[in-house]
Amino acid sequence: MALHSTGHAVSSSNALLVVHCDGPIDSDRVRRSLDRFLDVCPWPAARLRRPFPWGKLHWAANRRDPLTPPPVRRQAIATVDELRHAIDAELNTAIDPRRAPPLRLLVLDGPPEVTGGGVLLLTWFHPLMDPRGAQNLIHHLVHLDGHPGDAPWGSTPPVFVRAADPRSFRERGRLARKSLEYMRTLPRVRPVSATDGAAGRVRFRHASFVEHESAARPARVTREIWWRLAVVGKAMCALWERRKCPDVPFLLPVAVDLRRKGDLGPTFGNMLAFHFARFKPSDAGDMPRLASALRDQMADALRSGQIEANDVAMDFLQYRPLAMVRRALRWKGGETFSFNCADVTDFPAALARCFERRVVNAYHVPAVPPRPGIGVFFNRCAGRSNVVVAWIEGVVTEDEVTRIVETVREGLGWTEAP
């Protein structure tokens, strides 16, 4: 939810977009594009400001402060281990937006057998942007590489923060309270993490698969978020059993991207509202029924206006520490939710080429909060279906992660990508 301290360690709120290309990427071109971007988008040219202690993030420069552009770095790597280490370091070197630009770019060069040709990493402070916002930003940079001064979507200025809600403060306050009241009705989740909730190193595993069409399990069905939640729920069942709490129900946030569909746009910021899915581990025994129940829950949330109310509440709460959100919800003890799960769907076709290189694969890796400390994330790119499991070191073992990936692969009918 935000940068928050647990004891003496600060947890990373970084998120990564990892883009593998079929050739080396020229970091000078990336830097030049970013410079052009800073010319047309007013906010990131200034150092991030946040009024003490937890005012809303904004990007207007203090008149007395120097401008701090986000860094673009290049790093040579020689082995797969070095590639892994470089990505791991980006994820774990926490961005503190009070002291540094909230995003950075890293170009990794190395032998084709290690990088596929070249790798571009975009790292950001995740309350700043959601994954689609990060794709929009890359798209804009790529466009500016060949079209200086011009935005790919026409004359609309690029923005990080949405236009102010035209509704009155009184009306927005009513909606936000409605969302909080709903959240208070949700049962607290008993802690099941293997750790004590302390911040730790973020680990992740990425695997690519190929999707198959079958009459019994059409790809259209397995692409639905409800089916994916059910599959991940099934994978977590085994984990809950090993934690000796097989009956503890799942409560997990489902992000709803409020952007219009169809293509990339000028909005880079975080445009997510949340719905909370609830089910019991035993429900995962009947996947079609569970998927249907999860769809019905979301339909109810849309019908009742809960998603809209959550959007307004997030606007009030965003960038606050998790502890402050918990106080607003009057939650005492327990975990905020059971695990993370999200599907970013297709990597945009408009980004099939990135700085004149063909995109071979791309996926995103968010750092998960210390508790629950585990998340499973999906996307599709260049004919591959990607799954990323991110976790806080100590929450699960490597073997458990392997089992989660295998359960997901089996549940979605995927085979290993060549």
Binding site: G262, A299, L302
Partner: protein, 92 residues
Amino acid sequence: MSTGHSPAGIDHETVAEALTAFVNTNIMARGRSVQPDDDFELMGIDSMAMLKVLLFVEATFGFWMPDEDLVAENLASPRALARYICRRRGLS
């Protein structure tokens, strides 16, 4: 392109136009309009967006699509969904 009428008198062309207008007004980005025969998935309509379409169908045509009808044949495009709605209304 035929303009079929269901037994209940709903013109599926009109329904397809209503569905297309809803999607373009409430879901799609500016300048990214769908046409009645466009494939929903190819146009970026994910499962969450499709749920909004189903809620529109419920509010406008008075029924919630049962699970067994949520198949590609019925959900491929605004026109495919319009045909399903007309068939369903014709049966009811």
